[in-house]
């Protein structure tokens, strides 16, 4: 097991290298010239050229890539073209809101979606099942920003139960912190909940047909134990997989959600950086997101062994 984890961690290195190359190249071939943006409309071609040289953009592609990778390995993500602050510092400042949003959304989504899927499967074909499925289709098809504005309108503006937008750091207390996160988490989580609920239902339906479920019934096990112990543990692998894949959904959705609810997180940072063609920042953020995704899926591969003893590495 330990050897497996070490091997898997080592295997992420080539993955991350490819990601790095891709992130770097994407911006290299993207249209627009940061030197021109910084120089402004009045600049002469010589000014632009000077700025480009000062940014090191005149050096050959491979040289720039090599230098960039070398810096990253030392923990240096470069300096923002726009603010002149180190990218790592800018990310650090924006990390907490995004991380909070993701974690709250993840917990909320899993704790709602899994029981929903289990109950739908247990009551397949009934009103409850149809309701869950209808909810899943709705959650899937309504975009995050629509759900977000709708929620903000109803629960913040009309009912005044929760703040409209903004973010309060965790250091100022749990309740102010969570208050600001509930609406964004629900908005961001709706697609995620729909996805997990559907997979849970499908996976449970298959498991509930199995012979060992009949054995559990014949032993006198109660419905709850059958569903949540005997069946859910067997149904867990696809559910955990989709939770992992869904992290990508959350990252994408976070960008939009943070805009809707004015949360000063990495999503906003990304959007701003793209608009300003702030290459080092874009590269840093995308690299961080990719790294998170790879890490989460590594974690999930390891989780499989907890749920299914037949999986051995």
């Amino acid at each position: 097991m330990f050897a497996y984890v070490v091997r898997r961690v080592l295997a992420t290195i080539p993955v991350m290298a490819v990601v790095a190359l891709f992130v770097f190249s994407l911006l290299y071939i993207a249209p627009g010239d940061p030197a021109a943006v910084i120089a402004g409309d009045q600049a002469t071609p010589e000014d632009v050229e000077r700025i480009r040289a000062s940014l090191g953009l005149d050096r050959p592609y491979l040289v720039r890539f090599g230098a960039w990778v070398f810096d990253i390995l030392r923990g240096d993500l470069g300096v923002s073209i726009f603010t002149n602050l180190p990218v790592s510092l800018m990310i650090k400042q924006r990390l907490e809101p995004t991380l909070s949003l993701m974690v709250v959304t993840l917990i909320l989504a899993v704790s709602i979606a899994v029981p929903m899927g289990v109950i739908a499967a247990a009551r397949v074909g009934t009103f409850v099942d149809k309701f869950v499925m209808a909810f899943a289709v709705l959650g899937f098809s309504v975009p995050v920003f629509v759900v977000g504005y709708l929620l903000a309108y109803v629960f913040a503006l009309e009912l005044e139960w929760l703040p409209v937008q903004g973010y309060t750091p965790f250091s100022e207390g749990f309740f102010p912190w969570i208050e600001n996160l509930i609406l964004p988490a629900v908005a961001l989580g709706s697609v995620y909940i729909a996805l997990i609920a559907r997979i849970t239902r499908a996976s449970m339906l298959e498991v509930l047909q199995q012979d060992y479920i009949r054995t559990a019934r014949a032993k006198g096990a109660g419905q709850r134990s059958i569903l949540f112990l005997h069946a859910l543990k067997n149904a867990a692998v696809p559910i955990v997989t989709v939770i992992g894949i869904g992290i990508a959904l959350l990252i994408g959705g976070a960008v939009v959600t943070e805009s809707v609810f004015a949360i000063p997180g990495l999503g906003r940072l990304t959007v701003d950086a793209i608009l300003r063609r702030d290459y080092p920042v874009i590269q840093g953020v995308v690299l961080l997101f990719s790294f998170t995704y790879v890490l989460v899926n590594l974690l999930i591969d390891i989780l499989y062994t907890l749920f299914d003893p037949r999986i051995r590495y």
Binding site: D211, R214, T215, A216, A218, K219, A221, K233, R310
Partner: protein
């Protein structure tokens, strides 16, 4: 009073194209410590009968009617809660597929212990210790180590032993075994049957064994119930049934059984098959259920359903002509 009395059991399934009368008016009884076999070919309602006793039939689409009295108490009138207390405790069941009947993600010890924790309120530790005892009882070596293992680490025969351990953990009064040896190879079959016979003696449970294998019947059963198309067509003490089957269907079953070494004795005896298939149970059958496949069927058979009659002491059959020796020969 018999331990189990099944009275006019009817288990019907509603489906899109009509009602499937899987079991249609079956009655029988099982005395304490007795071994009764239910035989018949695939689709005759044996398994559904067994599942109905424990009410493991999903309702709907299934519907169980009649009466199933266990120690005088009608199981069909019990609440779900009461049924759960009976299942695995007073009546337990072993299934045909040892490969798939155990939960693949729980340890063997946990699965045996679950019954004990449910019905006897044992702690996790006490349940595990009892699980080790049970594994020893069913003849699994290195029980201490095995309780921590998962089903996929065991062979088919071992898994069926584990199933037996689960079934017998709470000393049930009745054990229902649904084709317990069908999925196992022959040497393992014999071991499992021996084990069941031994344990029956130690635990003192009555057994209802469901099988299509007449060899198994001869081996373990004291009394035999022959089912066909959801009905009981014959019932007798095992020796009597093999010597003197009254119902043409039973005769057909016995005739289709290969005899060991028969090809070496020089007598070329072709195995007798029963022509045709079990009729669809979707529509109400007129007359004798076996008439369409019976070589002796007459007009009477296709029109009037024969009642179950006692043809000899303790020997019941549902056939208009079963009394005639010509048929029984």
């Amino acid at each position: 009073m018999a331990l189990l009395e099944v009275d006019n059991l009817q288990t019907h399934f509603r489906s899109r194209d009509g009602i499937n009368r899987a079991v249609d008016g079956v009655s029988f009884h099982v005395e304490a410590r007795e071994t009764v076999a239910i035989v018949g070919e695939s689709g005759c309602g044996k398994s559904v009968t067994a599942m109905s006793i424990l009410r493991l039939i999903p309702e709907p689409p299934g519907k169980i009617a009649g009466a199933i009295r266990f120690n005088g108490r009608d199981l069909l009138k019990c609440s779900d809660r009461e049924m759960r207390d009976i299942r695995g405790n007073e009546i337990s069941m072993i299934f045909q597929e040892p490969m798939t009947s155990l939960n693949p993600v729980l340890t063997v010890g946990r699965q045996i212990g679950e019954t004990l924790r449910l019905h006897q309120g044992l702690s996790a530790q006490a349940a595990e210790n009892r699980a080790v005892d049970m594994l020893n009882l069913v003849g699994i070596p290195e029980a201490r180590r095995r309780v921590r293992e998962y089903p996929h680490q065991l062979s088919g025969g071992m898994r069926q032993r584990v199933m037996i351990a689960i079934a017998l953990a709470c000393n049930p009064k009745l054990l229902i075994a649904d084709e317990p040896t069908t999925a196992l190879d022959v040497t393992i079959q014999a071991q499992i049957l021996d084990l069941m016979r031994d344990l029956k003696r130690t635990v003192g449970a009555a057994i209802v064994i469901i099988t299509h294998d007449l060899g198994v019947v001869a081996e373990v059963a004291e009394r035999v119930i022959v089912m066909y198309a959801g009905r009981k067509v014959e019932e007798a003490e095992v020796g009597r049934l093999f010597r003197n089957p009254r119902h043409p269907y039973t005769q057909g079953l016995l005739g289709s059984m290969p005899k060991l070494g028969s090809s070496l004795t020089g007598v070329e005896t072709r195995l007798q098959e029963i022509p045709g298939v079990v009729p669809s149970l979707k529509r109400k059958l007129e007359g004798c259920v076996f008439a369409s496949r019976c070589a002796h069927a007459t007009d009477l058979c296709t029109k009037v359903a024969p009642a179950l009659e006692e043809k000899a002491p303790g020997h019941i059959a549902a056939c208009h002509y079963a009394l005639k020796d010509a048929l029984a020969a």
